[in-house]
Symmetry: C2
Subunit: 344 residues, 2 copies
DNA sequence: CTCCGTTGTTAAATCGGATTAGCAAGTTGC
DNA sequence: GCAACTTGCTAATCCGATTTAACAACGGAG
């Protein structure tokens, strides 16, 4: 990419010292004795010439590229992506690291090929990420490497995992409902565990429901029913419409994702029921639509940004990585979809 | 990252030839004469040892890292991000390249710092991207470098731009309305040019409106009015509500983004008007919500994926980059929000 | 039989830094 | 006054490839 860069040799020449001295002066190492005078001359020369070290060259010798690879199944799809990457990137930048972002689209061969491409570039570590919290088996190329699992779990694979605290989120959803006075007429839409077509739900769905039921029970409240459905708007609409058509009159809906909530809103709207006047809704994820639905949706936020940030922070800590599961809290975004229970 | 890699020297040793011969055999160059026997031995040895070249080391000599930097103001926000990056990444992978993804958050200093970090790693080229089509002034560090501008324009900066063909999209929106029989009662929401608070609109908004008005005029149709507003759901709701409250009864709304459309849907719904029975809606962007709104929204898709792909393809073409503006078509996603005009 | 041109291969230099080993000059100790 | 340390710096190597220059071995021409 054009025009010769200033090298360390240039700096040394201008400062009137050897490249060795320049190297030590610039790296600021104290184990090699450099006089203050020399150090100052070198730093001065470097500044004047606008010297910047060639990271590629340095890596060859030091083995550290200050670069992290990020492999995910899919970065597009809504619930994940941008925020995770941004969080990871910010944390990386704070320590002068950069991220290679890649996506394998769920294809095992593509995944292996990408990991190779990353290793060929000598990345210091790899973040292996999934868009949905689930169990994974990382490609064999990653065995024995410095790896952090992001939003996924791999029993038997020796690496830390960073995942949202879904269990506690389920509890918080229940607490929010109890606090508003709801004790009956509560339905969960999109639980108990997701249908096979939605493997994304196997962990998140289970844990959210487990936390929800636990706290409702403790609070003396009852879950009137659980409707299983795919975690999308269409299914949410269909199932809630069916529920209403069957004569049920829920006072509160716990929708397992915002997409399902949006479908629920549509169904309630078409049935002439208002939120939260007739029916309260509490949800999970806090996607973009949550804030712009009318009324705005109260939901438990998936901590994408924190997830990405923590993954990188773990990697950049000195020493070996421990195979621990880190659970990141999902904060409650209180908006306008929960109200007092409608009069019986 | 652990365990010594197999080097070319290892391969040469096993094949019983010099590193030089191994290098030529592996790179498959024909300008240096290597016997078929030697070539075969080397390839065989490489395969047996699972040799993979160290891209970092190679780069030092060849100056080419097979790596592209991607700098954007923000990768999170909805309308952009994921798809662009995915398109760029796919195109890069097809030619054995990888992408450094970075985001400066609109901060000039951060931007410079990121560009430096990229150049320090010897990227072969940089994609300078904006989330909204707009005019930009790239940081001075990029002058004279191999750069492609993505979704932005920088007059005077010697680099190609890749942008959506907003003008033609505006024309297509008009054509879709005309085809359904609309000739009056047409309102544009979110045009003519965006308010100062929404700089994102200055290019997209202008061109969409220009194309729209041009074709409506040619088709003998009339634009009853243009409502300026921010390009978000809240403003869309507010402005369309106000429009209806003022006694207007539009037959068709051209919303300048899907977010505005969503607000329009909410306002129409609360006023008891149906889409497309009472009012047709045509929109721009094709964000995720477009497909799940009820009725599904007919909209002109922002070709994010193609944008990213083309940017990388331009970079990977041999030879210097020409400062040309490449306009990528915005395909019409016909769904269910346009119908015949309501009876007068 | 010598000279010259191919052919196939390798030694050595290079890329831009980091690191190891060693070398002068100045200090201290006795 | 001389050995033993320090201090401050540099020559030489190394990292893992690519690339240039040069060198044997062989065949054909004269």
């Amino acid at each position: 990419m054009s025009e010769r860069r200033v090298t360390m040799a240039d700096v040394a020449r201008r400062a009137g010292v050897s490249p060795t001295t320049a190297s030590f002066a610039l790296s600021g190492r104290t184990d090699m004795r450099i006089s203050d005078a020399s150090r100052k001359k070198v730093l001065e020369a470097a500044r004047e010439l606008g010297y910047r070290p060639n990271v590629t060259a340095r890596s060859l010798r030091t083995k550290s590229t200050q670069t992290i690879g990020f492999v995910s199944d899919r970065i597009t799809t809504t619930p994940f992506a941008g925020d995770v990457i941004r969080g990871a990137m910010e944390a990386a930048r704070e320590r002068d690291n950069l991220l290679f972002i890649t996506e394998a689209g769920g294809d095992r061969d593509a995944e292996s090929s990408l990991v190779h491409a990353l290793l060929d570039r000598q990345v210091d570590a790899v973040i292996y990420a999934s868009m949905f919290t689930r169990y994974v088996t990382p490609p064999k190329e990653l065995f024995g490497r410095r790896v952090v699992l992001l939003n996924c779990l791999a029993p038997g694979f020796d690496a830390p995992s960073v995942v949202p605290d879904e269990l506690e989120a389920g509890r918080d959803a229940a607490r929010a409902l109890l606090a508003a006075g709801h004790t009956e007429g509560i339905w969960a839409i999109g639980g108990h565990q997701a249908v096979p077509a939605t493997p994304e739900g196997i962990i998140a769905g289970n844990e959210r429901m487990r936390g929800l039921e636990e706290v409702l029970r403790e609070g003396g409240a009852r879950l009137d029913g659980v409707v299983e459905c795919d975690w999308d708007t269409r299914d949410g609409f269909r199932e809630v419409s069916a529920l209403l058509a069957a004569g049920h009159r829920p006072r509160a809906l716990v929708c397992l994702t915002d997409r399902v909530s949006m479908g629920a809103y549509q169904a309630l709207g078409e049935a002439g029921l208002s939120v939260p006047g007739d029916v309260s809704v509490v949800s999970f994820d806090d996607q973009d639509i949550a804030a712009v639905l009318r009324p705005a949706l109260t939901t438990l936020k998936l901590p994408h940004h924190q997830l990405g940030r923590l993954a990188v922070e773990l990697i950049l800590r000195r020493g070996p990585l421990e195979a621990v599961v880190h659970r990141v809290p999902m904060p409650l975004r209180e908006r306008a979809s929960i109200g007092a229970p409608a009069a019986g």
